[in-house]
Symmetry: C2
Subunit: 188 residues, 2 copies
DNA sequence: ACCTGAACACCGTTCAAGT
DNA sequence: ACCTGAACACCGTTCAAGT
């Protein structure tokens, strides 16, 4: 399948190294053939990114499943997110490097997958602090998740010096730990 | 100057719309001429990104300057970061979309500018909680700053639904507020 | 029904040749 | 000294033509 060839190119050379001609060569066909299967390269990339997101979702589900408390669950979600990003750097980076041309919105199914990731944290936050309003929980989940995402991106993209998995995991732990303490011990 | 032409292309069409031929056309020259001034396109982009980082630094310096307390300073840093990112989306996104080819490391001057941004938060965190070790302060600064960066990226890149400046600023406030509370009220 | 091959309009980059 | 123009090796995408 073309998707497998594409995935292995991305693993080796990143999104920058991906091209229709390289994929075609990888499966022993002519570039034109790709366009009989996919509308264009963007469609192929979206399909691949969808699978990456599904894989991430599975990892995160597992992380939640093995947790005793909501707090532990959220810590594990953060750690699993970082781990998965580092595990398949190329594929994971491509999810965020890829941009649809100007007008096109993301397919609904794709947007839904992103939302599902947010909901994982949201659920645990709701368990952790059940008295908060739905809006407050949503905001906190997005803020925290966006934060983990940023740490992961900077670390995987090597925009920080000393950016191995270990240091990224430490940063994630630090962010989640202090944030949850603040979120719980709020006085008002 | 070629850099101005490049900047206006990025503002209008994003990094994806930038090409040596377009820049040359913008200044009324032939593509080849660009290579008499810059080693290649990457060098031009790095120069432009450097200026974007300098502009961001200036904004953040101003934000800190007008603050009463370290806590307020950090809140303002977060808000200013989000505001600047939204203000020049194209240029700011390019700083993080651009990747050097495989081997090449970032120029030292460039890496130094990124580090300076981190130090702004680190200084304020040190003022806020002077008893913490340097390592702990560093880690916390990087975690928090990475977090703000993630929120900004997701919002500017429109990877979240309902991602205007307002909601990004609310997320940033939420992250910083709870994080700082947790960081201060830590019991151990 | 399935695939190719050539074409079109683009890239970044180089470098002889022109003024 | 400064710039061009053409070339090279690449892109994504389309589509007549082949089997």
């Amino acid at each position: 399948m073309a998707l497998e060839a594409a995935a292995s190119i991305v693993d080796e050379a990143g999104y920058a190294g991906l091209s229709a001609r390289r994929i075609a060569q990888g499966i022993g066909y002519t570039p034109g053939t790709l366009y009989l299967v996919f509308r264009n390269l963007d469609a192929l990339v979206l399909e691949l990114n969808g699978r990456t997101l599904d894989g991430l979702d599975r990892m995160l589900q597992d992380a939640v499943a093995g947790s005793g408390s909501p707090r532990e669950a959220i810590q594990r979600l953060g750690a699993a997110y970082i781990r998965t990003a580092f595990d398949r750097k190329g594929r994971w980076l491509m999810v965020f490097e890829h941009r649809l041309p100007e007008g096109e919105p993301l397919p609904d199914a794709y947007q839904a997958r992103i939302d599902r990731l947010f909901q994982l944290v949201e659920q645990q936050l709701a368990l952790l602090a059940p008295t908060r309003s739905k809006d407050e929980t949503r905001l906190a989940a997005r803020a925290l998740w966006g934060g983990l995402h940023g740490i992961s991106l900077l670390a995987v993209g090597e925009k920080l010096e000393a950016a191995g998995v270990a240091s990224a995991a430490a940063m994630a732990d630090c962010l989640v730990g202090h944030f949850l303490n603040g979120y719980l011990h709020r006085e008002d």
